[in-house]
């Protein structure tokens, strides 16, 4: 019995935690170790929902900006999206978001949750910190544009917001960055918002998803 207790992964075991970890614990989530933190793996024995909201806040990410950012990313073997407000996958699974002419955020590979470098590796660029300042939520499943239309003024339907697009806009009246992940089967939106507003946005998204059969889920929903 003691052996089993020892093996249960808890967010409190780690220094890095999601701003939503108390919400997950209260909802009876099952955690697994990922990127030196506790990542929600599943919500118990729930059946597969039509749409899922997954908290990826503990997964690693970093940002850089400056005139040398494009050259530095290419030199590090990362993909560089052609225009601002586009995202692209890199060979090692990281996703590069281009948020401005010279500003880039890199999201760690989803399965491992880690990045191959961090902003300190790019000496001639300005680092942009986006790890604990932001929460990272993944919406996955069907009817995501309809779900988001309840919260967001920008049209996110496939015809105007195809895979690889980014919208920096207001979602449920708070600032957010919505990225439509490229090269993935199905529709996946990554939403980055202020970590202080994460609990609010989590509740808003769950409320909006409810009528479309959407529920909170863990990383096991994807793999």
């Amino acid at each position: 019995m003691e052996e089993i207790t020892k093996n249960i992964v808890k967010p409190e075991t780690y220094l890095a935690r999601s701003p939503l970890y108390r919400v997950h614990e209260a909802a009876g989530a099952h955690f697994e170790a990922c990127a030196s933190a506790a990542q929600v793996a599943s919500y118990g024995d729930q059946s597969e929902p039509l749409a899922a909201l997954i908290d990826l806040s503990v997964q690693h990410r970093f940002g850089i900006r400056g005139a040398n950012a494009i050259a530095a990313l290419s030199a590090a073997g990362l993909s560089v999206p052609e225009k601002p407000n586009q995202c692209l996958n890199s060979a090692n699974g990281e996703t590069v978001l281009r948020l401005g002419k010279t500003e880039f955020w890199v999201l760690g590979a989803m399965e491992s949750g880690t990045c191959s470098a961090d902003s300190s590796a790019f000496a001639d660029c300005y680092p942009v910190y986006c790890q604990d300042s932001h929460a990272c939520l993944l919406l996955s499943g069907e009817q995501l544009p309809d779900i988001m239309a309840k919260l967001c003024g920008v049209d996110l339907s496939e015809s105007v917001f195809p895979k690889g697009s980014i919208a920096q806009t207001s979602v449920a009246r708070i600032n957010a960055i919505i990225s439509h992940l490229p090269d993935k089967e199905g529709t996946h939106f990554v939403i980055l918002c202020d970590s202080a507003a994460a609990e609010y946005l989590w509740a808003c998204l769950l409320d909006a998803m409810d009528e479309f059969g959407g529920k909170a889920a863990g990383l096991n929903y994807l793999f």
Binding site: P84, N85, L99, G100, G153, V154, A167, Q168, T169, S170, N175, A176, I177
Partner: protein, 100 residues
């Protein structure tokens, strides 16, 4: 809702934007008089005409310039600040004498 065209993000609701004041030429802080500096920092023309203003698109943290008529509140055009500002403004402190 009123809309504004962000040069980086496109047409967005006006609630996503923050007003940043008139675009004014900065006097040299090391050589201008206190009156000139106070005028630059605290006062604006507040004229009824087409004005050139700083605006921020808050969700992307992007500052740009808009031309707006203060009478009709019509936004005539918006553009990237690189159109007006081609180089970084550096602030150097005036040389001070070091006392022995």
């Amino acid at each position: 809702m009123k809309m504004m065209n962000c040069p980086l993000n496109g047409l967005r609701n006006i609630s996503e934007f923050v007003h940043g004041g008139e675009v004014k030429e900065m006097p040299d802080p090391n050589s201008c008089s206190d009156k000139e500096w106070a005028d630059y920092v605290f006062f604006s023309d507040n004229a009824i005409s087409v004005v050139t203003e700083w605006w921020l698109h808050a969700p992307s943290g992007y500052w740009f310039i808009a031309e707006r008529h203060t009478g009709s509140d019509e936004i005539l055009k918006t553009y990237d600040p690189s159109v007006l500002f081609s180089e970084r403004v550096e602030f150097s402190a005036p040389a001070t004498e070091v006392k022995a």
